[in-house]
Point group: C2
Chain length 191, copies 2
Amino acid sequence: MTPSPASGKRQHVVDTAYALFRQGGFHATGIDRIIAEADIAKMTMYRHFPSKDELIVEVLDYRAGRFDRQLDRLEQEGITAEQKISKIFDWHERWFRGDDFHGCLFAHALAEFGDPGHPVFKAVARQKNRLRSRMQAILEDVMPPDCAEGAAAALLMLIEGATLMAQMGQPAIGNARKAAAAIIGAASVPH
Amino acid sequence: MTPSPASGKRQHVVDTAYALFRQGGFHATGIDRIIAEADIAKMTMYRHFPSKDELIVEVLDYRAGRFDRQLDRLEQEGITAEQKISKIFDWHERWFRGDDFHGCLFAHALAEFGDPGHPVFKAVARQKNRLRSRMQAILEDVMPPDCAEGAAAALLMLIEGATLMAQMGQPAIGNARKAAAAIIGAASVPH
DNA sequence: CTAAAAAGAGACAGACCTGTCTCATCACCA
DNA sequence: TGGTGATGAGACAGGTCTGTCTCTTTTTAG
């Protein structure tokens, strides 16, 4: 039973942990650091989250949920599939340019929790699969489903790679865009 | 002054640390674990490597060197640029299928050492830049240099993304290959 | 054979880690 | 006002971490 479903403390811990994990990584960020930054007692945190691992999963799910809602709004817009994909690249470009960009939290989580049975690993796989299937759904408007599956996978790979390069200080989102256009162009059915 | 330039102990430590870092990550793999697995005394390790961070850099540079030599041999082969790129994808495909594949060690290092001033970060940036520039050199045989630069970046992004997806148990190297063909086809100068 | 270099063995320090426990305090609601 | 649940504060346990130190043993080179 969660101690306080309506409490703001829980989300505050998630927010603080999110910021710290992003900057310093998961193993390198200790519980003591999180509770100091969030200005709460240690027991308050452990009453909400039974372990650090579960807090990490919660942070990832929270972040994934926000991104998912962004995709919800995108899908409701009355624009072409190409424009929707372009908007996803826009989001990433803005993200890369931000002051506190430190790479993809999910990719980092995968790096630190490589065991496929670990809950953190599963949370990462969930998020990446969701993004891929949603891009696939978008692409199915302009190409047959089997083509859309491969194209969505290719777009996801480009985005992941672009995020990694952006973290190394090499903005290549423009090249990713051009490559995405070539991929979609090669798979699209002319209308 | 390095204690023993010709000693095999040093490389043995690097090999052991490489295997452990790959499986368990950097922060999660302690010095004690490394020396136990390598069956050496702790002081032997610290005489060769002044700190854990420098050992990590050494491991990364060693791995990068091996990959670089593989690229050297590839460049000497008398095959087309497309065939060379295809061979690089072959290497990755075999790597992904291996039993002890745990993702890209360099990407993982970047996840755990996100500070651009950190020696580990710089070692990662070196390796990725080298791979990109070498792919660019290959592509310049079939397209103008400015096109080759963008195409090489796109190929690197695809490869990084494919590695990440492979780690999540979703083999997408075939889709990456098709996307690479579309990218090269769009940028190539017909001869 | 001998002297120097390398390695082994293990104690040790000091810090940090996760997670638990107790008790006092505070807010809110009936 | 009284009670109840959430929180604060901090000690504490038990473990792990990196890195240092000393002493002994082994290996290597001249």
